[in-house]
């Protein structure tokens, strides 16, 4: 009985999930050790950490799906910016209702993702190149939509006069908190994205197909898997989540900034990798990514609580990425 439990525990400790969890616990331990005069023990600190990682985390969900398919999506940061400016433009100067604006932005994000997927699957261009091109293209498109400026509630009327319109309630809503002010809405959105990704990857046929294609595309094709459609679905999902992140970003910044989100794609990739999903595809999960997101979130939070300069933070993040991957590979 006792031995059964200990062997099961040992089996569990050998799983990637246990390793990712251990890394996270290590990080929390560091937080307790360097608690900045007890600041680390206040829930508000954790709440803010969660709020700060949520936009990255939403991107990381889509990134997980694409990486499991043995691809990569560099365009998420630009699609985020495009979505942010589109959302701001639709709701502020154009005065669309929140629901229609959200649906339109989500559809646009998914469409851009599908286009990337189409180029990867049907045109057989490497994912890195396709999404690099999409990254540049979507950033440009964001500047076209916004006219190269930040889209704010300070709008130009047709007669040339400018006026300040009220910020639609949806901005405030997304940037507010629930549960008695203990959880940010963006964090709720992030967790919903995690749940949706989990359902897609673990419970739906398309998820199985994504793993199969990422594990061995030729074998998947010969097993009757529609490889092209599967890849399009994976990139579309990533585009959809980038749009969700873009709306959240716009709400948090109360404006649509065409320059926003620069470099976020690399943070998202780091979170996926630190969680333990390998870039080679066919393996990994969104629960791993959730742990990876929290690990990076705590690292940043602990460093800022202890007033570490930005240079130190960047260098330490680099070191942590390498350590995490080595730890994941661990004793094989």
């Amino acid at each position: 009985m006792n031995r059964g439990v200990s062997s099961r525990l040992r089996r569990f400790l050998a799983t990637p999930f246990a390793r990712a969890l251990l890394a996270l616990l290590l990080m929390v331990g560091l937080g307790i050790a360097f608690n900045a005069d007890g600041a680390f023990f206040r829930w508000s600190v954790h709440r803010d950490m969660l709020r700060q990682v949520s936009v990255y985390g939403i991107l990381a969900c889509g990134m997980t799906v694409v990486i499991v398919s043995a691809g990569i999506d560099l365009s998420v940061s630009s699609v985020l910016a495009l979505s942010a400016v589109t959302f701001a433009t639709l709701t502020l100067p154009m005065g669309w209702g929140a629901t229609t604006a959200i649906l339109a932005v989500l559809a646009a994000g998914a469409a851009l993702g599908s286009l990337s997927g189409f180029l990867v699957a049907r045109m057989r261009i490497q994912p890195f190149i396709v999404t690099l091109a999409m990254m540049v293209f979507a950033r440009g498109l964001a500047k076209v939509v916004s006219g190269g400026k930040k889209v704010t509630n300070y709008v130009l009327a047709p007669d040339g006069s400018s006026q300040v319109v009220d910020l639609p309630r949806v901005f405030e809503l997304i940037d507010s908190r629930v549960l008695g002010g203990n959880l940010s809405i963006v964090t709720v959105v992030f967790l919903a994205c995690v749940a949706l990704t989990w359902v897609v990857l673990e419970r739906l046929r398309v998820g199985r197909h994504i793993y199969a294609v990422g594990g061995n595309a030729e074998a998947a094709r010969l097993s009757g898997v529609p490889v092209g459609r599967t890849l399009v679905a994976a990139y579309a999902l990533s585009g959809l989540f980038a749009a969700v992140a873009g709306i959240c970003q716009a709400a948090q910044e109360t404006q649509g900034d065409p320059e926003t989100g620069m470099g976020y794609e690399l943070d998202a990739i780091a979170m996926v990798v630190i969680g333990g999903t390998p870039l080679t595809g066919g393996k990994g999960s969104v629960t791993l990514t959730l742990v990876g997101v929290l690990t990076i979130g705590y690292l940043q939070k602990i460093l800022s609580l202890n007033a570490a300069p930005e240079a130190t933070r960047l260098m330490l993040t680099g070191v942590i990425i390498v350590c995490a991957v080595l730890f994941q590979r661990g004793r094989k």
Binding site: L204, R208, N216, A219, A220, L222, G224, V225, G282
Partner: protein, 516 residues
């Protein structure tokens, strides 16, 4: 006795074991200067092991290897090549993105003391070497743009550039068209007159008798005989390769039904890489319910391409018609073929079958997921697990848990997992390409029994195997393929290994059928 010159390369009582299994039992082998020495034998006879010893790949063997009378022991293939033994494998080892000259000097570039490569002198020397064998190509040409035959010749030139005394060629014509093969033969005879010793492995009878001065026959890891080619007629060669006839037990269970499962009429598949060559050339046959039809053929016979064409995955432009249970059948792709009840087990489990990290459960259910998913593709996991559990049990796949990754399974069990994936689609026709490749003897016997059971249940099976022993044990009927054509047909119980091997090597059907 003819006074032979002393051998260039001489191997004495070579033994080689892999683990506890000895695969080469004290083989003697000599290569004389200026001769083509053909190494003949079935798959698994020990040819590759012998070649790997000669070329320095296997360094841990017992016995002595001498080159020009001096005992040598090589530290590796590079060492052997340096000593003058060059091997040209079936897979070419050129760097496609580099030029001809770069490839010829790869690893031994002419550099000055600053490490700068003297391209001019390399190109001049390359041009000289190419001219010597009459290969008309610029040293600056990028290798990827050259036809395969030219690349093969380049490998030979590279070997010559290293002053190879002995050249080992492993099935060099398998990727060549007829004309390209002719060029190769012409070059080989030039080399022969220059005193180069050539070891040549081939499955093609016409090549053996065209080129060979001597033939050494290997069987089950032992040398059966070494003879002058003219003293060894083809019939005797085949008998030597096969040895005594094995007792053949026909397939157990009821014979095949008479109900037609699959009809193939005039199937041809063209090769898009090599112009004018047909991978499959006008093949027609009928497969009945409950029948195991064996497709025998040596490498490059086109048998595998027949299976892929039937699965909607032809290697090139295909023509001909199929009928499935009497209805027209023109598969648009693997997914379509599977829907119609045709499943394929490819010969390459690793690269075209399983993803090693996927769980057994997910690997087996992959092709049949549609049957276990509801609206929106939501997978009914209990139904999936039950069905996979049942098929795994039916195939006697021993696995501690369905959730373990497939890489934890033995080769035989991986093959069963792969077969289980096919079976879960409830196929009417099962296409099996080398199902027993890379699995041990016990697992093979198990698989044979399984295939008989499946046939007895009414599934029509088209089976390719290069292990000719298997066919009479399993197949009701056997079609022998050679160069894309059906060269002979046997009833399973009448088949002998010689009977299969001779037409598979192109003996008795001749080249006269070839339109040239």
């Amino acid at each position: 006795m003819t006074p032979f010159p002393p051998p260039l390369l001489s191997l004495r009582s070579a033994r080689k074991s892999f683990g506890p299994v000895e695969v080469l039992h004290g083989v003697d082998f000599d290569v004389l200067p200026g001769e083509v020495h053909v190494l003949a034998g079935e798959n698994g006879a020990g040819k590759s092991t012998l070649v790997n010893i000669l070329s320095g790949v296997h360094t841990d063997f017992s016995g002595t290897l001498s080159l020009r009378g001096e005992p040598r022991s090589f530290s590796g293939p590079a060492d052997a090549a340096h000593a003058g033994i060059s091997t040209i494998h079936q897979e070419l080892s050129l760097v496609p993105s580099l030029t001809v000259a770069d490839n010829l000097f790869l690893g031994r570039e002419r550099v000055d003391r600053w490490g700068r490569v003297d391209f001019r002198s390399q190109e001049a020397e390359a041009a000289r070497l190419l001219g010597e064998v009459g290969l008309h190509v610029s040293p600056r040409h990028v290798v990827a743009e050259l036809p395969v035959s030219m690349q093969q010749m380049l490998e030979i030139v590279r070997a010559l550039a290293r002053d190879a005394a002995v050249l080992i060629l492993d099935e060099p014509t398998s990727a060549l068209s007829e004309r390209e093969a002719e060029t190769l033969f012409a070059r080989l005879s030039v080399l022969r007159t220059r005193g180069c010793g050539i070891v040549y492995i081939t499955h093609r009878m016409d090549e053996i008798y065209r080129l060979a001065d001597h033939i050494t026959v290997l069987r089950d890891g032992s040398r059966v005989r070494t003879d002058e080619a003219r003293a060894l007629p083809p019939e005797q060669l085949v008998t030597s390769m096969v040895g005594r006839d094995l007792a053949t037990a026909g397939p157990v269970g009821s014979g095949p039904g008479t109900e037609e499962a699959l009809q193939v009429t005039g199937l041809s598949v063209r090769d898009t890489r090599i112009d004018g060559r047909a991978l499959v050339d006008d093949v027609s046959f009928t497969l009945h319910r409950g029948e195991i039809l064996g497709l025998a053929g040596l490498q490059g016979s086109g048998a595998s391409q027949v299976l892929h064409a039937l699965f909607g995955d032809a290697a090139g432009p295909a023509s001909g018609t199929f009928a499935l249970g009497g209805a027209a059948y023109a598969p648009r792709g693997p997914a379509d073929a599977l829907r119609r009840g045709v499943a394929l087990l490819t010969s390459d489990r690793k690269s075209k079958g399983l993803a090693p990290e996927q769980s057994i459960l997910h690997s087996v259910s992959l092709s049949a997921l549609a049957a276990f998913s509801g609206p929106g593709g939501w997978i009914r996991r209990e139904a999936e697990r039950a069905a996979v559990g049942a098929v795994v049990e039916r195939l006697r796949l021993g696995a501690p848990s369905l959730d373990e990754p497939v890489r934890t399974l033995s080769g035989g069990n991986q093959q069963k997992a792969y077969l289980a994936r096919c079976m879960l689609t409830a196929p009417r026709v099962l296409l099996l390409d080398e199902p027993t490749r890379g699995i041990d003897v016990g697992a093979k016997a198990d698989l044979y029994a399984l295939l008989r059971e499946l046939a007895a249940q009414g599934i029509a099976i088209l089976l390719i195997t290069s292990e000719l022993d298997e066919l009479p044990l399993l197949a009701h009927r056997i079609l022998v393929m050679h160069r894309g054509r059906v060269a002979a047909e046997f009833a399973g119980k009448d088949a002998t290994k010689e009977g299969i091997l001779a037409p598979a090597m192109g003996h008795g059907i001749g080249r006269m059928e070839d339109p040239e």
